[in-house]
Symmetry: C3
Subunit: 214 residues, 3 copies
C-alpha cells in the first residue's frame, strides 16, 4: 500500500464523515446518511470516469465503498463526538487533504488518457474533487458550494492548473510534482479553513439595486 493510496483512503474517510455530519441536522436516517457518505466519497471520481469513458474506479477496488460505508456509520452514531469542535476541525482539514489529493489524482488520470489536453484534465480534476460534494448538496437540498463565498473550489482549480503547468516544464518529475501540488493545494485550503478566508474581492461583484434580472 503506497502513500498515495493511503492518502486516498484518508480522503475517503474525511469525505464520508463530513458529508454525514453535514446532513444530520436535516434529520436524515441511517440509510440516507450512508448513501450521502458513499456518494460524497466516490461521486466525483465516478462522474470523471463516466466522462473519460473508463470503468468506474470503485468497481475494481471496493475498499473505497467499504471505507466510505463504515465511516458513514461511525459518523452517524458517533455524531456527537464527531461534531465536537476539535474533531470537526480535524475533519475539515482531512476533507481539505481529500480534495487536494483527489484533484491531482483526477487531473493525472485524465492526462493518462490524453483527455482534451490541456484543459480537459483540469476540468476532470475539479469534477473529481468537488463532484461528490455537489451531488450530496443537491440530494440534501442544501445550497451547493458554488453559491458560497468559501475558498473551496478556487484552491482546487489552482492546484489542477499548477500541476499542468509544472508538468509541462518538468515532464520527467511527475511524481514529485504531484506531491508538491497536493501539498500546495492543501496548504491554501488549510489557510482558508484556519483564517476563514473568502474569495478575493475582485472575484465578487458589488450588486446594486439597478440590476434588472431577478
Amino acid at each position: 500500500m503506497d502513500i498515495s493510496y493511503a492518502l486516498g483512503m484518508a480522503g475517503t474517510v474525511a469525505f464520508a464523515v463530513t458529508a454525514v455530519l453535514a446532513v444530520i441536522p436535516r434529520g436524515i436516517d441511517l440509510f440516507g446518511a450512508i448513501v450521502m457518505g458513499i456518494i460524497t466519497a466516490v461521486g466525483g471520481g465516478t462522474i470523471r470516469d463516466l466522462i473519460l469513458d473508463v470503468p468506474v474506479f470503485w468497481a475494481s477496488d471496493l475498499n473505497y465503498i467499504w471505507v466510505a460505508l463504515v465511516s458513514s456509520i461511525i459518523a452517524f452514531y458517533g455524531n456527537r463526538l464527531m461534531s465536537r469542535k476539535n474533531i470537526y476541525s480535524l475533519m475539515l482539514y482531512l476533507d481539505g487533504a481529500g480534495v487536494a489529493l483527489f484533484v491531482i489524482q483526477g487531473t493525472e488520470k485524465a492526462i493518462g488518457y490524453d483527455f482534451g489536453m490541456p484543459v480537459g484534465p483540469v476540468i476532470l480534476g475539479i469534477i473529481t474533487a468537488i463532484g461528490g460534494g455537489l451531488t450530496r448538496d443537491i440530494l440534501a437540498g442544501n445550497p451547493t458550494l458554488l453559491m458560497k463565498k468559501e475558498l473551496y473550489a478556487v484552491p482546487v482549480t489552482f492546484g489542477a492548473i499548477l500541476y499542468m503547468l509544472l508538468l509541462k516544464l518538468f515532464p520527467e518529475s511527475s511524481g514529485l510534482i504531484g506531491l508538491v501540488c497536493v501539498l500546495i493545494t492543501f496548504l491554501i485550503r488549510a489557510a482558508a479553513i484556519h483564517w476563514k478566508l473568502t474569495v478575493p474581492s475582485w472575484m465578487l461583484l458589488k450588486l446594486e439595486k439597478n440590476n434588472i434580472i431577478n
Copy 2:
C-alpha cells in the same frame, strides 16, 4: 412476452403515473409532466447502464418510453380520477411492485456483467430502483426521498442484499430466487405503505440542541 417483462411494464406505468401525480400540485404543464414521467420511469436504469458502460436499455426497446409517455399523459389529464384515494393507493402499491422489480433486475444485470462483485450489484440495484425518483425530485425542487422517514429505500436495499446472499447459497436457482426476492421486497414495501411504517428508531438520531453544525 414473459412475466418479468410484463412486470417491468407495470412498474413503468406506476413510476410514470405516481411521478406525474407528485408534480401536478406544483403547477407543472403537460410537457413538464411527460418529462417527469419518463425520467422517473427510465432514469434509474439509465444511470445504471451508464455506470455499467453498456447501451442504455430503452434505446433498444422503446416500449419503455412509449408506455411512460402514454401513462404520463393519462395521469396528467386524468389526475382528478387518479388522485382519488383508491386509485392513488393502487398506484402506490404498483410503485412498490415497480421498485421491487427494478431493484432485483438492476442487481441481476450488474451480476451478469460481473460488476464490482459483490457490492457493485447491490449499489446498481438501488440506483435502478430509486435513481429515477431522485432525479424527478431534484428537477421538481421537492425534497428527495433520502431526506424522508418513509420506509422506501430500506426495503429496496434489503431486497438487493438478500438476492446476492441467496444467489451465493443457491447459484442454480437464480430464476426462482429473483422471483422470491421481488416478492419479499414488495411485501415489505407494501407493509410500509399499509401501516405507514417509518424507519426503525435505531436508524434515527435523537438530535439535541448542542449539535454545533447547522
Copy 3:
C-alpha cells in the same frame, strides 16, 4: 469554419452569458460564475454523449470550453452592461438561437449513431438543448424550467419531432431540412420571447381544492 460551427459558437456564447446573468443576483463569485457558464454551455451535449456512449464533444474541440470561459468572465464583469434591457434582450434571442441549433444538432448526432430510432434522437436532441440549463438551475438552487410556464421546452421538442418527420419524408435533403428546422424552432421561441407566450391552456390543469396530494 462553416456556418453550423459558427452558429454553435454563437449559441455557446449566449448560453454562457445568460447563465452568468441568471446566477449573479444569487451572489455568486467569479469561479462559480465560470463553472455555471461552462456547464450551461456544454452540459447538455455532455449528457447526450454519455448516453450515446461516444467521446464527449468538447474533449476534441476545446474551443467550446474556451468560448464559454471567456464569455462567462465578460458577462461576470460586464454584467451591468449585459443586463441593460437591450443587451439582455439580445442575449435571450441568442439563447433561443442556441437551443434551436443544439436541439437539431443533438437529434442529428443521435440519428448518425442510429440511436433508438425514431424516439431516441428526439430525446437526445431535447437533452442537448436543455440539459445544460437544467443542471445550472439545479446547482444554483433555482426552479428548473420544467416548473415554469414559459414556452421554452415545447418549441425545442417540436423542432426535434419536425426534423425527424421531414427527414423521413425527404431523406435526400438532410442539410436543408436541418437548416429549416433550426429556423422554425428559433422563430417559435423568438415569438414566445417577444410576445411573452406561455404554454397553451390545454397543456395546463386547473388545479382545484379537492386535489388530495400535496
